[in-house]
């Protein structure tokens, strides 16, 4: 039976993400994912700034992914100016980078998605009904925050990262302390998994296979280095060719740019990384993936959230090994040595919500003359739109409330930066 959904939400478009649905007598006239966030023009603003100040500036693109933006920037500078870095620097950076993944994933799973999942059963605030879950989430989040504090000097907008190395590194004693903290996080993670596994079946059973894009490396589940992998390609693409991967275009639905590669759209993020790299997950992470039955749900965008939980376990396991390697090698205070020079370079890492690219050009003084950045959330916008177009016909007979919830949950599953996922989300029925 057809149903007419014609409710006008009074809320104005003032946030960063809107969902617009127009169903007339059961016929879908319009379903649109809109991004009206105020543009900030970083690529234009950094022109003229010194290589020494660049990381400080571009870190401010995003408070949640500031470590990833900083690393992409510094790698871009290092590649442009051919600055070597030590093995110790790479290890410490990776350790810091891991902390951001956990920070961001726990925030997303615990604070943003869990309410949706638990809300399906109850409307009472989580602190009242699921205090234990909230406690575990807070503990994990605080752990990840102090992990970032130790490596980067603060939780958001890293201070210690410099082209060529670090301005300050932790002591061996502090690393040992971190090791203890990380091993204590393992039981918290597994108890979170226990809660989530019972809820996983409540997630919509929606499948839409798409192209998945992520960093790949021959022998590992990588976040920090590698080349560009795609589920539509046998061969990996060099980082320097990223513009031919993202093919950014301006959509009238959005102040953020959209992307497409082999198909109409592609997906980046935890599920994309899982689809490309799951063979290299650490044992506990593999177990958790099996518990969630992730393999059979790897084309279900709602399961991006659970792929993030799998990644948290993988990262904690990997970080423990990394700390052992660092301690075995012994820490040295190294002073970054840089001679600024002209050049062009690309830096790329996996941000928590997907692959992130920066490109910079410098003059002889090391001043930036041009910059280009491709941000994961933007790479996902097109795919969110296509998912909505595929999902809505399947659920159009449901109540307005349910349609709203499913579409909101879909957007949240992609974990667009907090602005989109938490509060600036309106479903508007016209």
């Amino acid at each position: 039976m057809n149903k007419k959904v014609d409710v006008h939400h009074v809320t104005r478009i003032e946030g960063h993400g809107n969902i617009l649905v127009n169903v007339q007598s059961g016929v879908i006239e319009q379903v649109e994912w809109q991004v009206p966030e105020a543009p900030r023009f970083f690529e234009a603003m950094v022109r003229g700034r010194s290589w020494e100040d660049l990381q400080t500036i571009v870190s401010r693109i995003c408070g949640i992914c500031s470590i990833s933006h900083s690393l992409a920037c510094i790698k871009g500078i290092e590649s442009a100016m051919r600055i070597p870095v030590s093995e110790q620097t790479d290890r410490l950076r990776l350790l810091a980078h891991y902390s951001e993944q956990v920070q961001s994933h726990v925030l997303h799973v615990g604070y943003l998605v869990a309410p949706d999942m638990l809300g399906a059963k109850s409307v009472i605030p989580l602190v009242q009904t699921h205090f234990d879950v909230v406690k575990t989430v807070i503990k994990l989040h605080r752990m990840a925050n102090s992990w970032s504090d130790l490596l980067t000097g603060r939780t958001t907008h890293p201070i210690t990262f410099k082209p060529g190395g670090f301005s300050k590194i932790p002591s061996e004693t502090e690393l040992r302390g971190l090791r203890v903290m990380l091993s204590e996080a393992v039981p918290d993670l597994t108890s979170l998994v226990d809660v989530l596994v019972s809820l996983a079946d409540l997630l919509p059973a929606f499948e839409r296979e798409t192209e998945y894009v992520a960093l790949v490396q021959p022998d590992r589940y990588t976040f920090y280095e590698g080349s560009i992998g795609s589920t539509d390609m046998a061969e990996a693409t060099p980082l320097t060719e990223f513009e031919s991967v993202v093919n950014e275009y301006v959509s009238t639905q959005s102040t953020a740019k959209w992307a497409r590669w082999h198909r109409d759209s592609y997906a980046v993020g935890a599920l994309a990384r899982y689809n490309l790299n799951s063979a290299y997950l650490k044992p506990l992470a593999k177990d958790i993936a099996r518990t969630f039955d992730l393999e059979t749900r790897r084309h279900n965008p709602y399961f991006n959230t659970l792929a993030q939980v799998v990644e948290c376990a993988h990262i904690v396991e990997s970080a423990l090994e990394l700390i052992d390697e660092l301690l075995a090698a012994g820490l040295r205070q190294e002073i970054p040595q840089v001679e600024p020079q002209a050049g062009e370079g690309v830096g790329c890492v996996e941000a928590p919500r997907g692959i992130l690219f920066h490109r910079y050009v410098f003059d002889e003084q090391g001043r930036c003359t041009s910059a280009n950045m491709s941000i994961p959330t933007n790479q996902n916008h097109g795919n969110i739109q296509r998912d909505m177009e595929a999902l809505l016909p399947q659920i159009v007979d449901r109540s307005e409330e349910e349609i709203r919830l499913w579409l909101e949950m879909l957007v949240r599953a992609y974990d667009p930066c907090i602005s989109c996922s938490t509060h600036y989300l309106h479903v508007k029925f016209v």
């Binding site: 543009p39 603003m45 995003c62 925030l107 989040h141 939780t155 210690t160 410099k162 300050k168 989300l425």
Partner: protein
Amino acid sequence: MNKPKVAIFDFAGCEGCQLQIVNMEEEILDLISIVRLVEWREGMSEQSEEYDVAIVEGSITRPQDEEKLRQIRGRAKILVALGACATDGGVNKMKNRFDLQEVKQVVYGADSALPHLDSAPTKAVDEVVPVDYKIYGCPIDRREFAYVVRSLVMGKRPEIPNYPVCVECKRKENVCRYEYQEICLGPITRAGCDARCPSFGTWCFGCRGSVDESNVQAAREVMERYGKNVEDLEDRMLLFSNK
């Protein structure tokens, strides 16, 4: 005593300051026990809401955002600017050094004329409406945030340092960055971060903004002592101290 109603809004920024509020973890539950959080970004229908305290993150970059900010100001008894984007315009103000059309061209190319990509020169919140209190920093310090909120609830004026970062830095016995031939903005920047950047081995880039009566002469003397020139200082000031 009635709990003051608090609402949090955001404009152009990275949301790192709001993240610091989330990062308070358990402590936020304490704060929520002394205030009533009535809106945190579109949580509720804004037309019907009233609030005593509006906390605003981000800078103002579009005419429609100015309009919304005026509305917020009209409803709030106290307005607090949260973080460098709101207090001073933050890094967003670097945009103002360029021709706006050209900036849009660089980012959006031929599509830059589309109406939804509109942007105006960046303004700090107090360039649009009066601001009662400012919480400085990029990002803000969560302890300072808690302190300001508690002070407001008690009806007291929070005391924010109005002396330079150097004071805190010397207290911590850091080696001065000028000894390493670096340009540090500590002499002209407002303290309150416990000289965080020099304590982590690098220069202050001025994220807490200038002290009210910034002693440029003292800064000049430091520069001269280390054979640096004021242009270097001004170059770094372009990050967080644009007009």
